[in-house]
Amino acid sequence: MSEYFSNIKIGATTIATGMAITFRHFLNAVKRKGDAGIDDADYFKQVDGLCTLQYPREVVPTPTIGRYRLYNDIEDCIGCCQCERACPVECITIETIKTTADDLAACGKTSGGQQKRFWVPVFDIDVAKCMTCGICVSVCPTDCLVHSPVADFSEFDVKNMMYHYGNLSKIEAEAKKRKLDEEKAAKEKAAAEAIARGEAPAAKPKPAPGPMPEGGQAGE
């Protein structure tokens, strides 16, 4: 019989305790829970208040060292294709066209002052495939390929996950290709004429050991 009454007593007190807790939360719903992160000392002290983030309008800031969507600053890209080769999932596609001698000035220099020697008509990153491992970023000689802090880039069509960073349109690329072909043909013609005149063919410059003349990382 005493157990019967003690059960009722336990039931009543636990219900009262529980209702006090929920009512406290109800009253505290006018407040927002603090912004303290897990690293802050008072993280576990801020238990009351609304903790919903209304996502598109409010976001948790992405950490500065985080790896999110890739971004390529094509102005600094020298078209070395190291990122393409480094990528384990082959999500980067690059096509390059060698710059002709008279175009070197038009092709410009990187922000580090390095002469660019390639047009990059195609620099596509399929971010749907990208696993954000960051290897491409670590091999980039000019630091033009970086992880941006953009974390939400969902799309309705998977085709839109292909990001195009190329700096030439198709027509321009066509023109540059033709120009390069003409220059090559002219060189070959000159070489053939030189042979015909009995001169020794110009020795091809051997690849220089050590760092490339432009600096940066050693080519493979």
């Binding site: 019967y4 219900i15 529980g18 209702m19 009512f23 939360h25 109800f26 719903a29 609304l50 209304q54």
Partner: protein, 359 residues
């Protein structure tokens, strides 16, 4: 009962109003509680419950449709109206269709004796309380019809549990209400309120003027939770065990009718408990000396305000309990009813009788 209150003036005037042969006034009298249920279920019932539950769980609740999500319920209703009204092939068509109707009618019929203030009541029956207790039990038939007619194991289990629960909890609930009836010496809902109104406001309420009334009050409140299938007694529609209980197979407007019936009976039991123990439409504010606060806050419109506010308060407590307590097991539910509430209800009954004789 000190001052003479002219009862039922509005509803009497309305019921005498005919448009040719058509008793338009009576239709309006019947429509008032219906419109009230719909509006209250729309605003306080659905939106309020979602917001209250959200705040108790540190969430925000609906925020997207309209400012603070105020139009969320309208969007939900639009969705419910557009939904296909599915009747399963293997279901018993008649029972399946009639189930939600019986349930809604059962919950709505009880509003006949609920006084919306001293001037308005559907019908001031002299057995009003008895009628209310009896007619609410009609819901059981609707639940059983829809559970059996669905031809679904979850629905059937939900219906069986629901019927067992409601029928058992009728007993402590009725005995607790009988204590109130003994205090008032009447079964008429209007006379309950009249007996508890007076110049000292809430001091005339049985809960505060009678030293035993808290016990039947508490018993009836707990039993009413079980009768309306509210948590922690929501085992007939236990989501984690029975999908949705007896209305698993329902969709569209039939589903919405279950909702309306549930919110209707929630207000009904809250109304009954506030009438029997908390004075119904009687103002809780006392007259302080010459400052006649009670007289100022009495009257037909104030009466409607007070009874609706008291009802809303108890609905808030019901929601508060729902978001605090976990669901009971079936055997715990029956233990609570037969071994705790029923004996205590009898004790309260005897104590009230003794008090009423020797006070």
């Amino acid at each position: 009962m000190s001052q003479s209150i002219s009862l039922n003036t509005w509803s009497d005037a309305l019921s005498g109003f005919n448009l040719g042969w058509f008793p338009l006034g009576l239709v309006i009298v019947a429509a008032v509680p219906l419109v009230f249920i719909a509006l209250y279920a729309l605003t306080y019932g659905v939106y309020g419950e979602r917001k209250i539950s959200a705040f108790m769980q540190d969430r925000l609740g609906p925020m997207e449709v309209g400012p603070w999500g105020l139009l969320q319920t309208l969007a939900d209703i639009l969705k419910l109206l557009q939904k296909e009204d599915i009747v399963p092939t293997a279901a018993d068509k008649f029972l399946f269709v009639i189930g939600p109707l019986i349930m809604f009618v059962g919950s709505f019929l009880a509003f006949v004796v609920l006084p919306f203030g001293p001037a308005f009541i559907g019908a001031d029956l002299n057995v009003g309380l008895f009628y209310a207790v009896g007619i609410v039990a009609l819901e059981v038939v609707g639940i059983l019809a829809s559970g059996w007619g669905s031809n679904n194991k979850w629905a059937l289990y939900g219906a069986v549990r629901s019927v067992a629960q409601i029928v058992s909890y009728e007993i402590p609930a009725s005995i607790a209400l009988l204590c109130g009836a003994m205090m008032a010496g009447t079964l008429s809902m209007q006379q309950f309120c009249v007996a508890q109104s007076g110049p000292y406001g809430f001091m005339h309420y049985y809960l505060f003027s009678n030293p035993i009334a808290w016990l039947p009050f508490l018993i009836y409140f707990i039993a009413s939770l079980a009768e309306t299938n509210r948590a922690p007694f929501d085992i007939p529609e236990a989501e984690s065990e029975l999908v949705a209980g007896f209305f698993t197979e329902y969709s569209g407007m039939k589903f919405a009718m279950f909702f309306l019936a549930e919110y209707g009976s929630m207000f009904m039991v809250s109304g009954i408990i506030s009438i029997v123990f908390l004075g119904g439409w009687a103002s809780p504010l006392p007259n302080i000396g010459s400052f006649a606060l009670n007289t100022m806050t009495s009257g037909p419109a104030w009466g409607a305000f007070w009874i609706i506010m008291k009802g809303f308060f108890f609905i808030f407590v019901q929601m508060w309990l729902r978001w605090t307590l976990p669901r009971l097991r079936v055997d715990q539910l029956m233990y609570l009813c037969w071994k705790v509430l029923t004996p205590f209800a009898f004790v309260a009954f005897v104590l009230t009788a003794v008090w009423e004789i020797y006070k």
